[in-house]
């Protein structure tokens, strides 16, 4: 009786560091096994893919808001790369926006890297606008004419010298707007943009804030949602299946994602079983 008790107590008050090692291994080991993992795309990710194909057909440019910083890089950068690869492979012109100061260099580097893969030229096929504060005012003015808020692009040239922007004025000239963020920015795009100008809007969000966007999907204010690293993996799967482009870090991390989730589920189940066994035993002693 007593050593079972002692064993339970040891397990229930196990040192945190043991748990840390277990979760670290469950994430690190699968990288060595690199099992092939195929992902079924969900409804809202396929909707984004189809909308991008529609943009290719009407050959209108798209806007991508890179509103993430290093803290949510792991989930949103694979998404950004998958979307950019899809856009560039279909010759869709991309305008990059940014309202998170800590993410400016991240967005510029990501766009340049993917553009280099497809031989796309800055200023002709893609352009990146600088960071601006007061995003609510910038989003409102973007519906009238973005030249009211932006006088130069990120590298310092005035907007007149950018061939891609010559025919563009506001949201109507773009097929859709995609915002990648873990912050409140997507809600701001809806409040200050979609409500006033009714353009097609898609969000790529961190999994933490995914549930709060579903009312906007149901009401039609948003037409697609990519959720976290799994969403990125789904999109990479779609792009690979249809356009045979290489998959990125989203798919690469899915094996570790699987092990990581299973470990957490097992922890919750075992933790509760031990807790109730311990409580019933202490009830018997009393």
């Amino acid at each position: 009786m007593s050593n079972k008790n002692k064993w339970l107590d040891y397990l229930l008050n196990i040192d945190r560091k043991v748990v840390y090692v277990i979760i670290f291994l469950s994430v690190a080991l699968p990288f060595f096994l690199n099992p092939v993992v195929d992902i079924q795309p969900t409804k809202w990710v396929s909707a984004v893919y189809d909308e991008m194909e529609e943009a290719a057909r009407t050959n209108k440019p798209i806007i991508i808001g890179f509103d993430y910083d290093p803290s949510t890089l792991a989930e949103l950068d694979p998404m950004a790369k998958a979307l950019l690869r899809h856009a560039f492979s279909r010759n869709i012109k991309v305008l990059g926006l940014n309202f998170i100061p800590n993410g400016t260099s991240l967005a510029a580097t990501t766009m340049d890297d993917v553009a280099k893969e497809f031989g796309k030229e800055y200023g002709k096929d893609y352009v990146f606008f600088p960071y601006l504060p007061q995003y609510d005012l910038v989003l409102i003015n973007f519906g009238d004419n973005f030249r009211k808020s932006y006088t130069q692009e990120f590298r310092g040239q005035p907007l007149e010298n950018i061939p891609m922007l010559s025919n563009l004025q506001n949201y109507d000239d773009f097929h859709m707007v995609i915002d990648l963020s873990g912050t409140k920015l997507p809600t701001a795009y809806i409040m200050y943009g979609v409500t006033r100008y009714h353009f097609k809007f898609v969000t790529g969000c961190t999994a933490v804030s995914a549930t709060e966007y579903f009312p906007y999907l149901q009401s039609g204010q948003m037409i697609g949602l990519i959720t976290g690293m799994k969403g990125a993996a789904e999109y990479e799967g779609l792009v690979k299946a249809n356009l045979n482009l290489p998959t990125g870090d989203g798919m690469r991390g899915m094996a570790s994602q699987t092990w990581g989730h299973l470990v957490i589920i097992i922890f919750i189940v075992i933790g509760n079983i031990l807790y109730y066994v311990r409580r019933r035993m202490s009830m018997e002693i009393k």
């Binding site: 008050n13 057909r57 009407t58 050959n59 209108k60 025919n167 004025q169 506001n170 109507d172 009714h198 933490v208 804030s209 709060e212």
Partner: protein, 380 residues
């Protein structure tokens, strides 16, 4: 009534500017685009299928009526059948338009006749936003009424909350066991409603603590919030008539960095072995560390936050959790902050109107009343 009014306005606008007369395989129609500052004309045209295959681009040409020279204003893909002309367009001046359909090689496949004159003029009020205007006024008036009523000191009914009972039981249990309690007022600034609610609850909790002489430790994240909590706890001891029993170093400023605060409070819990922990206010990802450290010491844990992303963790790790606005309601029941009471009641009645609106519209829709599905947010 509102729909009739809106139909009337649109009819006038359409009849005045809607004039396309010549017969043509491609008919171009134009009118001032409604509800805007003017300087915009909506151009529409219908495409027969033969054009769609032969041409790939549509070019829109425009000139002021009476001028000689046409100017190209827009280049569109063949799939487009609508164009909102907004660039450098002046109000109250008649414009003539014609379209050119060109193939991939650029040679003109088809050129339409001239259409117009179309005139753009500004509107003072966006008729689609009338429902929003009405609802905004109603909401603002109700909120202001209740702020004034609460300030005048009148007692307003707030339903009993099981959470308030849970807090008082936890304080009672800790006092019985003679063990300390830890109270975290959240990691936000003083102007945050969640922090104000937390301080209002703290004032009641510290009154009970002062009465029974148990010990309450309050580690703070924000220096200004610290100065307020210090004031509140000391005030409770004075109110109970035992000013000397107040231990100043139990209420202190710990740190203003998120994870340092979490590990600081975890260390405090490991050392003091409290019987009850309170996490009331605005929290971020560090809530996980606090709740876990607290549950390891076996203490009763009561949490309350309006930070939606942290509520799931508090629910599974704590004994009772006040969800979202329940934190404000508990604060009005436990403290005497009339601002919180006014805010809560005002928002409650606006919520009641939202519920009634939802029910009424749903019932009207069941009875098949037309126009319900765009009554609140205009035609678009």
């Amino acid at each position: 009534m509102k729909n009739l009014l809106r139909l009337l306005v649109i009819l006038i606008v359409v009849s005045f500017a809607f004039n396309s007369y010549s017969v043509d395989t491609v008919v171009v129609t134009g009118k001032d685009s409604p509800n805007d500052k003017g300087e915009a004309i909506d151009i529409k045209w219908n495409l027969d299928t033969s054009l769609k295959t032969s041409a790939t681009k549509v070019f829109v040409f425009r000139k002021v009526q009476g001028e000689a020279e046409y100017k190209q204003v827009k280049e569109l893909d063949i799939t487009a059948e609508y164009f909102n002309d907004k660039n450098e367009l002046k109000n109250n001046t008649p414009y003539m338009y014609y379209l050119e359909f060109r193939s991939a090689t650029g040679e003109v496949v088809y050129k339409t006749n001239e259409y117009g004159p179309f005139v753009a003029f500004p509107q003072w009020v966006n008729t689609d936003k009338i429902p929003t205007f009405i609802f905004s006024l109603v909401a603002m008036i109700i909120i202001l009424i209740f702020i004034r009523v609460a300030k005048s000191g009148r007692k307003l009914y707030v339903r009993p909350l099981p959470g308030v009972q849970a807090i008082e039981d936890a304080v009672g249990r800790a006092t019985e066991m003679g063990k300390p309690m830890i109270y975290c007022p959240g990691i936000s600034v003083i102007s945050d409603i969640a922090t104000l609610a937390s301080i209002s609850i703290l004032s009641r909790v510290s009154e009970i603590v002062a009465e029974f002489g148990s010990r309450l430790v309050v580690p703070n994240y924000d220096p200004i919030v610290y100065s307020v909590t210090d004031e509140v706890v000391k005030g409770a001891y004075v109110k109970v008539g035992r000013p000397d029993a107040y231990k100043a170093d139990d209420v202190y400023f710990l740190t203003q960095r998120q994870f340092a605060y979490a590990s600081g409070v975890s260390g405090l819990m490991a050392r003091e072995k409290p019987a009850a922990n309170f996490f009331l206010g605005w929290f971020m990802a560090e809530s996980l560390i606090l709740a876990e450290a607290g549950s390891m010491t076996g203490a009763i844990q009561i949490a309350g936050t309006d930070s939606i992303s942290q509520i799931p963790f508090f629910i599974v790790a704590c004994d009772y959790t006040l969800i979202g606005e329940e934190l404000y309601a508990a604060a009005t029941l436990m403290g005497e902050d009339t601002r919180l009471l006014g805010g809560l009641k005002g928002q409650d009645y606006v919520k009641l109107i939202a519920m009634i609106l939802l029910i009424v519209l749903f019932v009207l829709k069941l009875f098949g009343v037309s126009g319900i599905d765009s009554i609140l947010v205009g035609g678009n």
